[in-house]
Symmetry: D3
Subunit: 158 residues, 6 copies
């Protein structure tokens, strides 16, 4: 079956929100890093499954960067979209902001690139549709994703 | 301080997503009702805090209705927006769909109306800005919210 | 099979207790609304299954009202009993108090009415036994439940 | 301040219920032992705080015994009451049954004895009221608790 | 099938670490007893399964003692090893220390003895290999385990 | 204050174990990626705090790679050690194996490099001790960490 390509905007998660509660904090009273990682992974997984039409598993996290801490009472706002796909894998870009919901301002707190592989019914990697970038931003991400992948392959990583 | 009114679209949560995992299921293998209630409450809280600029607490859940079950592997997609405000309270409407992320189709599974009260720094109820409906849908919800409130007050509920 | 009716007292949960810990709090240091909703749902489910002898699912939450906040260190005390049944559905009433276990005093913090449907082995709605009220309180709840249902049906809700 | 004694029935938890869900199971599909232990501890803590009127901490678990496995779909029914107190400590007995809520039958699955110490505002052990057994069962437990304590002290345990 | 004996050191868990976060605390700001119990049970289970080569279930907790409180920011360090086995059961000893990871010092906070039974594929108790103590400490624990078991059997416990 | 350097072996976590339960699985019945990420972060944090003697926060995850899936019933075995430190940051390497505790065999399932920053009492980055590699493996990791950092800085990442 030939898979029809999709534009990233068709499968993106635009605004996944998570209100930070006291039980999400580490002993410095900022958000526990592992919680943010889990949130990035869960959100990106949805994009990967929307794009591929298949169950997907995480195969790599490249450069998840914490730019600033987030605090209790703030709202995490997560955006995720597919940047590029290869035979059976896809790179999903994730952007997390911390929103002060009372004032309305947001600051960028985390950026991440995650790679997922689509699986067939036997759990084997299977072909995914091409990504069809349309906007300038989508084109820029499409190109950068291939550069990141080349850099990974150059050092023997998947 | 006079609070400036806001349009519902300014503070709405458009697409809060939650991938259902096996540990979210009850013994009938459908999503545990309490999990969906918590998700509605957490999402509506963000809208209430965006609209009021204040910490808010839930005071009532009116008519949270489960229209259909949701299953493991599906994605819950939650939308929430403020319908109307009164002196210190607001009605937030919540709509939950279950998305088959592989095929892209969604079915409506839950509707709910929640009432929140905004609190000042001493934890006392405090004034909230008016809701300024602009679209036809926003106007319809604005009117219906007042009818629901009148019905509640008529039977002695907050 | 004709189902024998049961008195509410036979299937009631008299005292489901939950000690509030710091991780159950929202950013105002009162108990997170979603936690209380989940607790109401889990407790009411047990009553519904005791009454019907069947797996049950939540179909509606009508008027869950937060009358007062609960705080860390207090104990939530949940009571639930079946008010009335119809063909395949039941209304369960839930009462939550916050107990200061050190002094022994309790305040009423939440009231809720939840509707459950009983399912047969194929997941289809199935007949449930009648409710046989005996005490004055049980009779009052039995009548009020039918009035609430009539009001719901009048506005097109289940 | 002389503390007035209390009868165990005044502070007992009679029916703490917990519906077992799929996420409470170990890989043998029976309830995870650690979940039951936590449930016993949380329930017994409430009894200790009701009896002493103080914050309490667990100091020992003696003979928590799993008599039979519990399964998904069943309801755990936990009972706890104070057996005896000494200067600043109390023994709380816990009984857990697994109820088939559909049929109504229960089997005894866990018995446990936990010892708690009451703390004053500085976190130091503080005096607790005497236990005043009235029923034959309460008297039997009162005597047995002292024998268990003597056996513990004989082998150098608290 | 004759099972070959194993030395405790072969199957021990030497250093299971758990960083305490604010959400692990009770209302006295020390670690919730039930959390520590669950951690002991999960760690001991791994030792029981390594020793027996079988799925195991907890049958008893004897003398889990809290010697000192643990606080947020500290790291729990759990050690567990098999002390002795009988036909189908094993005693696992657990030692928990609270480590101030900043200074490096540790204090002993919990000791526990748990008994597990190994199950065959039908869920019936099945034979486990003998424990072969080699070091002086292992020999001492081997002897003491049998004394504890004799004391338990003398009072009718498993 | 001049900080004395430490050998990685002094602060390493050798064997952090985690028994996989059904509630840790995604809808493909393999371990949820976000759970493994959280486990890596929590374990690496302890190493960072042991090495620096300070509270630490995650600033970046570089190349967390899933080499193979892990399944229910298996035990995750996590090892973590510091590879190199710079002024206020440290690279921690993490290795996760999935152990079949019944047979004793393990397979390597995840590798990850995380960067942490040490904070002083005001939450500002503060100096950390040098890493003093002694073994051949420690030396190899010490050199490779600097190469990874140079590659990150070359593309504008922290």
């Amino acid at each position: 079956m030939t898979k029809t390509g999709k534009q990233p905007a068709e499968t993106a998660v635009e605004q996944n929100v998570y209100k930070i509660f006291p039980n999400d904090l580490n002993s410095k009273h900022t958000v526990f890093g592992g919680l943010v990682m889990g949130l990035c992974d869960r959100t990106a997984l949805i994009v990967a499954e929307r794009h591929s039409g298949r169950s997907c598993v995480t195969v790599a996290v490249d450069s998840l960067t914490f730019l600033a801490p987030a605090h209790t009472g703030e709202t995490l706002v997560v955006k995720a979209s597919v940047n590029r796909s290869w035979r059976s894998s896809m790179e999903i870009g994730v952007h997390v902001a911390a929103e002060n919901s009372f004032q309305g301002d947001r600051r960028h707190v985390v950026s991440a690139y995650l790679t997922f592989v689509a699986l067939d019914d036997d759990g084997k990697p299977t072909e995914v549709p091409p990504v069809l970038p349309k906007t300038a931003v989508e084109h820029r991400r499409f190109v950068a994703a291939d550069e990141r992948r080349a850099a990974r392959l150059a050092i023997g990583r998947p």
